[in-house]
Amino acid sequence: MSKLPPALTVYIVIMALFLVAPIVVVVIAAFTSGDFITFPPQSFSVRWFDKVLSDPEFISPLWNSVRLGATATIVASALAVPAAMALVRGNVRRRRLIESLLLAPLSLPTIILAVGLLFFTAQIGLGASFTSLVIGHVVIVIPYVLRTVLGVYMSANHEAEDAAKVLGANPLQAFWHVTLPTIWPGILAGGIFAFLMSFDEVAVSILLSNTDTTPLPVSILSYLVYNYDPSVAAISTIQIAIVILVLLILERVFGIRNVMFASR
């Protein structure tokens, strides 16, 4: 590795400090045996992990979040892929307008979207249900999938699809055998972002969840209002572990680094 200039070294150290240090503190604090979050902990134990893993107050929100993230990611991908194809290849009028509209949730404050969705879902009779949550999260995560798929698809050779058709593939076969393998890295990269965004989302989740569908970030927030025991640190550590596990598996199976860079 080449030697970095001093200014860059300082910058990296500060960045790492602010990004990584809080996470490290939370993870270490989760292993305390005491009754309060202290850092560094006086003694270590896994009692708070035992507690949260047997506490339905945390376990069912964790399951809710995984379910919600996965569903929202799959639905968002199913919507974003055809949209990207139409935007790139189709003879779409007002292409840029539609594209910006689909990407708008990126720049829109989520709380505004959440309030709007709250009224909207109440109005159409869905109320605060899992379906409403999925709808809200899909709107929020579509841009992540759309952007990466657009990027991959735009740089792909479109004549390959034409070649498949001339060789006898009907539109569905051409999509399945040629288009999908081509844009797969984009779907994967976008899907990872989408899942992580949903897993972490608060505003829509607070307004659209009910007691049975509370996602994890919401339950952590409400727990923090009245408690200051290390349960929160423990469940957060589990959450971090899940994210790292997902990334590790994807790295092993698909080579996430290639995927992330290929999708730019």
Partner: protein
Amino acid sequence: MKAMADIPTTTHLEIRALCRAFGDVGALATINLAVVEGEFLALLGPSGCGKTTLLRCIAGLLDPTEGDILIDGQSIVRVPVHRRGLGMVFQSYALFPHMNVVNNIRFGLKMHKVPSSEADQRIADAIDLVQLRGYEQRLPGQLSGGQQQRVALARALVTRPSVLLLDEPFGALDAKLRQSMQIELRRLQRRLKMTMIFVTHDQAEALSMADRIAVMRAGRIEQLDTPTRIYDMPATAFVADFIGQMNRFTGRIIGRSNGHALLAVADLPAPLKARDNPSLAVGDEALAMIRPERIQLKRGSDGDGMLEGVTSDAIFNGERLNVLVQTGAGSVSVALPNVGVDITRAAAAVGQPAAISWESNDLLLFPA
């Protein structure tokens, strides 16, 4: 040069009054064309002339606005692209990047549900045909441009298409490779006796490969003819100019004498005799053109040339010496074949008086 006699004259592919509105570039205006069985036809023209649009209409990748396309007398315009049974080679090769060579070639057979034992045999034959044995398991990204080109060709041929369409198939290859692929394709086409239509903007490629050339311009076919006739007897000034080099003179037709037209050119003392063009009347403005290699050059000015002038430049390119002669009618380019003698002398004569002459039949007339 081309063995036209070998080609049966049954129409294989016919295009009737085909139109396609497509903004300004690539639009087609009433194309009529009949391609015979086993013919190798080139669609030649500058970019935006509609040649690729025409090819994509035949393939079914674009829908014509009007008109009909028939193969063996059956209309195919309503048949979707994947049921037309054609083959196509794309300029970008359009190989499937995630499939190896064998699976790229197998794709069409799989789509046509060819039983796997037969498919394996046909794939092996196709790989032999394009000489890619040993590369079966490579991915397209691990092949050179020429090898990718051959995979694309094998992939298109293995389905035994009734017509093979090629869109600038050699556009992305370097000059040497391009030439050897051209020879290979031409040999293959003769052997398989397959009807092929290829699009190119390279006139040398069209001249050397095609049985017939359709020269296109602004969505129309300007001339459809054999390469020799396209080159020697261009139907329009555009074709004359687009194919090869031309010297141009403008003038007015002032009369006719035993089969020749007489063209008065400003600043020339005597009219030029030219091959007559019946579409021109006496008094019309006309454009006269002659190829540089049809002009003879003589040093000095002994008075028996048609035009006299001074050589201003001589550019040697190996197979010929191109001499520029400044005459009363402007600068005239003369191409002297390098047959060994006199070349160096002629090259040394820059700045010397020279006289040029030609056969009157080689000076072609077109409406100005």
